[in-house]
C-alpha cells in the first residue's frame, strides 16, 4: 500500500478523475497559482507517493484535529487527509502504548530526512518540561528527536505556531511555540483556533506538487491564506466605512447586520481566510453569524484585551497609573513650590537693606 500513488489511492476510495481534477484546480487557485498550474498540481498529486506524516500532539485541546478530520463529511480534502500516510497520531491511531511509539520510530527510520512533522499544541519548558509527557518523554525531547529527521514541520493551530492558550499570561508551564525550539528546519505556521481545514490540505498539496513550502509572511504563515485581514474581506466592511456600528448584540444595528467593531471585533488586525473560504462547507463564519472576530490566528490573541472590548480601548486600565501620576505630580509640585518659596525668602533676607544714610556716606 505504501507504494501506491495518491491518485490510485483516491480512486480506490471512490474518487472520480473528474473530481480529482476539480480538487487540483481549486487548490491551485486557492494557493493563488496561475490557472496553468492546475495541471501541474494534478500531475504531481497523481504520481506522488504517499508522504509519511507524523503528527505530534503537545499542550493542546484536540480541537485542531477535530477541525481537520470532521469538518467536512467525505470530501476530497478529508480523503486526501486520510490518504497521506499518517503514521503516528495519538488520537487517530489504533495502536497504543509501546506499539504506538514503535510505529513512530519505524516510520521515522523508513523515511528519515523526508517525512513531514505536523505539530499541534505548545511545548512546556518550565521545570524541565514535566508538564506534558508522552510515553515517559517530555514534549521537548520528542519534538527534538522527531524534528531531526523531518523534511519540514507544519505547526497546526495557534498553540504550535505562537504558543496560543498555554502561552497566555501568566504562562504557568513556560509554554513556547515550535519555532522557539526548532530553528534549523523549514517551519510553516497554520494558525487559528482551530485553523481552516482547507488551508491545511492546500499546504500539503503544495508540498506534494513542488516539494517546497508555499510563500510565507513575516509570521511564517502561507501568504495565500493569511495575506489579507478579515476586515479587508468582510462583507460588513461597507458599514464600517460608513460609520454604522452595532452597539449591542440585540439592537437595531445588530439586526441590520452592521459592523461589529464596537462590540470588540478584531477583524482589522487578524489575518486569516475565514471571510472568504468560510466554515462548515462554506456556510458561514463568526462575523456572518453575528459575533465579532476573536483574532484567534494572531500571536497573543488571548492577551490582546477582552474579546468584547473595542480594538481602540486600553488592554489594561490606566486609572491606577493616572491616579498615582496625579498624586506624585501634586507631591513633587508641592515640594517644588515650597523650595521656590524658601529660596525667594532666603534671597530677600540676604539682600542688604540700603538706606539713604548708607548712600550718602
Amino acid at each position: 500500500m505504501r507504494d501506491e500513488t495518491m491518485l490510485e489511492l483516491l480512486r480506490r476510495q471512490g474518487v472520480s478523475r473528474r473530481g480529482f481534477l476539480k480538487f487540483c484546480a481549486a487548490t491551485a487557485s486557492m494557493l493563488a497559482l496561475p490557472p496553468s498550474m492546475a495541471a501541474a498540481v494534478a500531475e504531481a498529486m497523481a504520481t506522488a507517493r504517499r508522504p509519511t506524516v507524523i503528527w505530534l500532539s503537545f499542550q493542546e485541546c484536540t480541537g485542531c484535529t477535530e477541525s481537520l478530520t470532521r469538518s467536512h463529511s467525505p470530501t476530497l480534502e478529508s480523503l486526501l487527509f486520510d490518504t497521506i500516510s499518517l503514521d503516528y497520531h495519538e488520537t487517530l491511531q489504533a495502536a497504543a502504548g509501546t506499539a504506538a511509539e514503535a510505529a513512530r520510530e519505524a516510520a521515522m527510520q523508513n523515511a528519515w530526512g523526508n517525512y513531514l512533522v505536523l505539530v499541534d499544541g505548545s511545548i512546556p519548558l518550565k521545570d524541565g518540561g514535566v508538564y506534558a509527557t508522552v510515553a515517559g518523554k517530555s514534549n521537548l525531547q520528542t519534538l527534538r528527536e522527531v524534528a531531526e529527521g523531518a523534511a519540514a514541520i507544519v505547526s497546526i493551530g495557534t498553540c504550535a505556531s505562537y504558543g496560543g492558550l498555554p502561552y497566555a499570561k501568566p504562562n504557568p508551564t513556560g509554554a513556547v511555540p515550535v519555532s522557539e525550539i526548532i530553528t534549523d528546519k523549514p517551519i510553516i505556521n497554520v494558525p487559528g483556533c482551530p485553523p481552516i481545514p482547507v488551508v491545511m490540505t492546500a499546504v500539503l498539496a503544495h508540498y506534494l506538487t513542488f516539494g517546497t513550502l508555499p510563500e510565507l509572511d513575516g509570521l511564517g504563515r502561507p501568504k495565500a491564506f493569511y495575506g489579507e485581514s478579515i476586515h479587508e474581506r468582510c462583507y460588513r466592511r461597507p458599514f464600517y466605512d460608513r460609520g454604522l456600528f452595532a452597539k449591542s448584540f440585540d439592537d437595531e444595528g445588530a439586526r441590520n447586520g452592521w459592523c461589529l467593531f464596537e462590540l470588540g471585533c478584531k477583524g482589522p488586525t487578524t489575518h486569516n481566510a475565514c471571510a472568504t473560504t468560510k466554515w462548515n462547507q462554506g456556510t458561514s463564519f463568526p462575523i456572518q453569524s453575528g459575533h465579532g472576530c476573536l483574532g484567534c490566528s494572531e500571536p497573543d490573541f488571548w492577551d490582546a484585551g477582552g474579546f468584547y472590548n473595542t480594538l481602540s480601548t486600553p488592554i489594561t486600565p490606566v486609572t491606577g497609573a493616572a491616579t498615582a501620576a496625579l498624586a506624585a505630580g501634586a507631591a513633587t509640585g508641592l515640594a517644588v513650590t515650597l523650595a521656590n518659596r524658601r529660596r525667594k525668602a532666603n534671597a530677600r533676607r540676604a539682600h542688604p537693606e540700603v538706606t539713604i544714610d548708607d548712600l550718602e556716606k
Partner: protein
C-alpha cells in the same frame, strides 16, 4: 517583537506610561507656574470690571482685521489645523470608545466621511504651516528645535491615524500600533515642550484679562 506584540504593548503598558508622564508633567508645570508667586498689588483697583479674564479668553481668540491681514496664512492654517485636530480627536468612533472606556462618558460620533474630510484639511493645514515656517524669514528665525519637535509629534498622530483608517500601509496592525505609539509620544512630550500651551494658553489669557481689567483696560 512582531506587530501584534507592539500593538498590545501600546494598548497596555505604553498607554499607562504615557498617561502617567502626561498627568505628572502637566500637574508639575501648573505648580511651577503658580509657585512663581506674584508681587503684592499696591495700586487701588480701577472701576470694577467683572469677568474681564473670561471675556479676554474669547476676545483674544478672535483675530482683528488688521492682524488677520498681516498674518493670514499663519492664522488660517492655525485655526483650520486646531479645529480639525479636535474634531478628529473627539468625534471618530474608535476615539469615542476609548474615552468611554477610560472616563465612562461617550457621545455621538460624526459621520465617517465628514471626519475623513476634516482630517485631510487638518493635515494640509499643518503642512502649510510648516512650509510657511520654513519659507517666511521672520518665522524661520524665531523657530527653534523645540518648535519642529512640537510640529512633528502633533503631525504624526494625524498622519498615522489617517493612514491606519484607510489601510494605506500593507499591515494595518503595525499601522495602528504606530498610530497609538505616536499619540503616546505626543502625551509624553506634552508637558516638556511648547505644547503645554493647550492648558497654559487659557490660564495666561484669563490672567492677563483679569490684570488689565484691574488696571482699567477694557478687555
Amino acid at each position: 517583537m512582531n506587530a501584534m506584540e507592539l500593538l498590545s504593548w501600546s494598548r497596555g503598558p505604553g498607554l499607562g506610561i504615557a498617561t502617567a508622564v502626561f498627568l505628572f508633567g502637566m500637574l508639575l508645570r501648573l505648580f511651577e507656574i503658580y509657585s512663581l508667586g506674584r508681587k503684592p498689588d499696591l495700586a487701588p483697583a480701577r472701576p470694577n470690571s467683572p469677568g474681564s479674564g473670561w471675556r479676554t479668553i474669547i476676545s483674544r481668540s478672535v483675530p482683528e482685521a488688521p492682524v488677520f491681514r498681516r498674518s493670514a496664512v499663519t492664522l488660517t492654517s492655525g485655526y483650520l489645523f486646531h479645529i480639525g485636530f479636535f474634531i478628529v480627536l473627539l468625534f471618530t468612533v474608535p476615539h469615542i470608545t476609548l474615552f468611554e472606556s477610560v472616563i465612562g462618558i461617550g457621545w455621538p460620533a460624526l459621520p465617517t466621511p465628514v471626519v475623513d474630510l476634516v482630517a485631510v484639511v487638518a493635515i494640509i493645514a499643518m503642512l502649510v504651516s510648516l512650509l510657511h515656517r520654513l519659507l517666511d524669514p521672520v518665522k524661520r528665525f524665531l523657530s527653534g528645535f523645540g518648535d519642529y519637535v512640537a510640529w512633528s509629534v502633533t503631525f504624526l498622530p494625524l498622519l498615522t491615524g489617517y493612514m491606519a483608517h484607510h489601510h494605506l500601509l500593507p499591515d494595518y496592525t503595525l499601522m495602528l500600533a504606530i498610530h497609538i505609539l505616536s499619540v503616546e509620544l505626543l502625551l509624553v512630550l506634552f508637558p516638556f515642550t511648547k505644547l503645554t500651551h493647550m492648558l497654559t494658553l487659557f490660564i495666561a489669557r484669563w490672567y492677563n484679562g483679569e490684570w488689565f481689567g484691574h488696571k482699567g483696560v477694557a478687555s
